[in-house]
């Protein structure tokens, strides 16, 4: 069992015979201009040639930012090139879960989360796999079109679940969480804040003014809970990174 060192065969429109994701060539999840930029970039040619699921770790642990394309010439970030490589390789599910579950390298975790959102077809699996990582509040460096931005792992995963365009790709549509809960495919979301969230709600209703909360840093996130109310915790504590 072997896959090709380069993506040329896979990108060829004429006869793709490998694994299909959502009924089509996995590489087609990226748009044509982005695909072209990636394949013409020096990083792809030099460092992404001949990688397999094990050697890609060498490159992934050297990552120091996430992002799509940047600059006037729309250069792809190494993060994007490695995501493209993962789509070409289509590793096994257990390997991707390993990438996601390991704790040491946060950019590898971000890469795995990105891949999961793009490639996995069952919506409820995507939600159940990615939601536990909404407690991870480590800082990530994001390369934007013309500069840098600060974001967090949980913020990034939140974007993956809610936004439609992340890192120069249009994410494939998934059903919103409420829809899946109504269909009984998913349990209503249990926030990591748990009881403290309920207490806050109660106190809010009673006192009528915002409450100062003593929250453990590890449980901070600004995610919308199942009732649709966004809890703005980010004022006091910007997440220990």
């Amino acid at each position: 069992m072997a896959h090709h060192a380069d993506a040329k065969r896979a990108l060829d429109e004429r006869g793709y015979k490998g694994q299909l994701i959502r009924g089509d060539n996995p590489l087609k999840l990226f748009e044509k201009p982005v695909r072209d930029r990636i394949v013409e970039s020096y990083y792809w040619k030099e460092q992404c040639f001949g990688l397999n699921a094990a050697t890609i770790l060498d490159r992934a642990i050297e990552l120091n930012c996430i992002g799509g394309t940047y600059g006037v010439a729309q250069r792809p970030t190494p993060f994007l090139c490695l995501a493209f490589k993962l789509l070409q390789i289509v590793p096994d599910k257990e390997i991707i879960l390993f990438y996601l579950e390991q704790e040491e390298y946060k950019y590898l975790r971000a890469l795995a989360a990105f891949y999961i959102r793009l490639a996995w077809e069952k919506d409820n699996e995507v939600y159940t796999t990615l939601e536990p990582y909404l407690t991870d509040s480590r800082k990530l460096k994001r390369r934007t079109r013309e500069g840098w931005a600060l974001t967090y792992v949980d913020d990034f995963i939140d974007d993956l679940l809610l936004k439609s365009r992340v890192c120069a790709t249009t994410l494939p549509k998934i059903n919103p969480r409420l829809f899946l809960e109504d269909e009984d495919k998913l349990e209503p979301r249990v926030s990591a804040l748990g009881e403290e969230l309920e207490e806050l709600d109660r106190e809010d209703d009673e006192d009528g003014h915002s409450v100062e909360s003593v929250l453990k840093p590890a449980e901070m996130n600004g995610h919308a809970n199942g009732n649709g109310a966004v809890e703005e915790m980010s004022d006091e504590d910007m997440g220990e990174g």
Partner: protein
């Protein structure tokens, strides 16, 4: 008596030296052998076609099998060394390269005897099918199993930790470590230089011209 060499030839002759030394020469015997091998192949194929038509069947040419003894392609272990000759001046032998062929100024690929002026073209060549065949690689990568991934992860983690532990914070110790590393590098350079001197005649090395920042693309 007029020299039999002709108006353009120097006494030394075109092959051995003189004005036309830069022109490419062909090894006639090699090409004669190639031609006869090709003729033989056509004859054999013709024979097979004839036999097939006698039997009433059509002859199908078998696709050539990939050459034996190719090993799997693997990712590059180190970055490509493109910048170490930047800013250095070297002298090139004139007849050494024709276009891409031969060793001229630029990035040289030994397996294929090609020179590229540009690191982007060079790396494209290194990824190309022609080069992989010349280097004996199959162009296919072995698929990794979960066990491979675990092992690689542990290995990388360990390597990082070792490097981190080697970093010494104390200034005195750092100076010593730096001196040791420098000493080692100097020894290496000295050794290499001596080897090169010994290899080439008259103790002078073969040098090439390299202009600063020639074709480095990142």
């Amino acid at each position: 008596m007029a020299d039999r060499n002709g108006a353009y030839d120097t006494p030394g002759g075109g092959g051995g030296g003189g004005d036309t030394a830069f022109r490419r020469t062909w090894d006639r015997s090699e090409y004669a052998a190639k031609a006869s091998a090709r003729d033989q192949k056509i004859k054999d194929e013709g024979k097979l076609r004839y036999e097939a038509s006698l039997a009433g069947k059509k002859y199908h040419a078998r696709a050539s099998t990939p050459p034996e003894g190719t090993h799997d392609t693997e990712a590059r272990k180190q970055r490509l060394n493109v910048a170490d000759l930047v800013g250095k001046q070297t002298i090139v032998v004139t007849g050494a390269g024709q276009g891409k062929r031969g060793k001229g100024a630029g990035f040289y690929c030994e397996c294929c005897d090609l020179t590229y002026k540009d690191n982007l073209q060079f790396v494209e060549h290194l990824n190309s099918k022609a080069h992989l065949v010349a280097a004996g690689e199959s162009g296919e990568v072995r698929r990794a199993t979960l066990k491979d991934v675990h092992e690689r992860f542990e290995y990388l983690k360990r390597k990082r930790e070792e490097e981190r532990s080697k970093e010494v914070v104390d200034l005195g110790a750092r100076i010593e470590v730096a001196m040791e590393v420098e000493e080692r590098e100097r020894e290496e350079k000295r050794r290499k230089r001596n080897e090169k001197r010994r290899k080439t005649k008259d103790g002078l090395g073969v040098v090439e011209v390299k202009i600063e920042n020639d074709g480095i693309i990142c």
